[in-house]
Symmetry: D2
Subunit: 179 residues, 4 copies
């Protein structure tokens, strides 16, 4: 059961990355830093005759990695009460993958397990609930099993280490991922 | 009371634009098509000494328009159960505006009224509720008054004209905006 | 397609009843005023050997009416951000019906269509969303199809007549129920 | 800082009570078993000339205990995706307390800290989110500070002891309550 982390943070070594690192400690995994890639916003061509035009960016290479792994961790800071823009651009493009002739996106995703790690500054255990609900809907749409989520509270660099509940949840997620 | 539409759709003349047009019929307003602009994902530099670096894209010119108007309409298709990526990239950058020395973002936004028009294909009156809740949190954060929202159901081009409830809600919004 | 209204208001002729009346205008239907009946809170005996003891109150007679109808309207004021206590007591007892030998509750409910009319005073189009979501989960659990909902804003007697959007939604619901 | 538990479970020694016991271990507190009391559904008399009539049940004695304590724990099984009917009946009656001449309900509640322990069987970490949101709105309305919540997953007697995350969260709540 191989593990892939899709890291949606826009800041190197921020709270979201720190919490993710704790959750993955000792577990072999691959991490993709979305901020270092070019993933363009979707252009909705679902209803055009020729379908979606190919896009010259890194999206397809990320999807190829996703398709190769079993457990996918969506790690994102809570920006304005939902996932970061780079993460959003990535997920929006799934509409394109759903129509790809190169793979059966839904059938493949339906084999995978999804996990969310989200870190926010403004009362995230309340105000990140809509984000968690949306992720749930996204995973349901492609048939992924939403296994669990961890919400952390942090604003300034390093704050996450003061959130004992997030640290404890990350440890439990670590055990869950390793089993 | 001048009206600005921030149009988050990625498709010209799609359902979201059609519903928005009905809601604005006969009312003087300005519309910005976010898809035609370059608005980059935020790079979180809140915690760096020098703060945010200037970004060479269209974000600031959009914000200048926002600051100039009284009623701001956030029109977005529901992509993967929240706003479109271009809309998300735009809102993420508010973190930068909050630290701008060129204007008092919060004080200015707190004078404005916010409206949301959202159109989705998958049971949006249920599954767009988290999106509405997030917009609420965003508006609260900058002190905007969230006046009302319209949710439409549509998937294929033109579907929105079959959603009598959305059409009726758009008409009521039209009256509200005009008064 | 016969219509049953389960009226959860605790006040005669209040805003919830007024809005319900508009939604039902001209349509043959039966209304049950839950406040006039005795429906006791559930006592959880799911895990007891003998199962649930019979309860000497009006619950079963209401359920018999529910089973007899095709479209069930759950009309409730928003009390403290969810349904009224009398409505809640009624729904809690479904756990008992799920184990009844007298009828196949789930199979029967799965044939029915559900509608919600909810009227609240404190920003209900935002703050009644969790109530709507819960009703959704309840209906899903027993297999009912959740057709639509109407949210009204009213606090003092008669206020509902000022909520043009609720009135318009009630009219659309009327048409939907009648078709 | 004295602690009061309002226990909304309808079953003696069920999962909710077990989890609550762990959260309170070693801490002096008082527990009220709502199921053993008579608390009638509210009759909305807010708009009647004479206001609310006195009700001959146990509600006022429970409120007197609430007013006497500093930290109030709302422990409830998740019945049909929200709090139990006995808990709902109790909270609905707050509308009466808000108009009581015997005490200043809001001013007193605004001094208190609120905690929620909720245990459900059907994917509670997702499907109890609307319940948590509602409790948040209730606490906000009376000015209580919503400190934290614990969600447990359990269906059959004793199941809760298998939910390592709930057990861990209960331990952290224990520490928080004791400090």
């Amino acid at each position: 059961m191989s593990i892939l982390v899709l890291q949606g943070s826009s800041r190197a070594d921020g709270n979201t990355e720190q919490l993710t690192r704790l959750a993955l400690e000792g577990l072999p995994h691959k991490q993709i830093l979305l901020r270092e890639l070019s993933i363009l916003p979707i252009r909705d061509q679902r209803h055009e005759r020729g379908g979606f035009d190919p896009v010259a960016d890194d999206y397809e290479s990320v999807i190829m990695e996703v398709l190769r792994h079993d457990k996918i961790i969506f790690a994102t800071p809570v920006y304005w009460y939902t996932m970061s823009g780079v993460m959003k651009n990535f997920i929006d493009r799934w509409s394109q993958s759903l129509r790809s002739a190169d793979y059966d996106f839904k059938a493949s995703m339906a084999q995978k397990k999804a996990y969310v790690i989200a870190v926010g500054g403004d009362d995230p255990r309340m105000k990140a609930m809509p984000l968690i609900q949306q992720m749930k809907y996204c995973f349901e749409f492609v048939g992924m099993s939403f296994e669990s989520y961890v919400i952390g509270k942090a604003s300034r660099p390093g704050d996450i280490l003061q959130d004992t509940r997030a640290l404890s949840d990350a440890m439990l997620l670590n055990r869950e991922l390793g089993s």
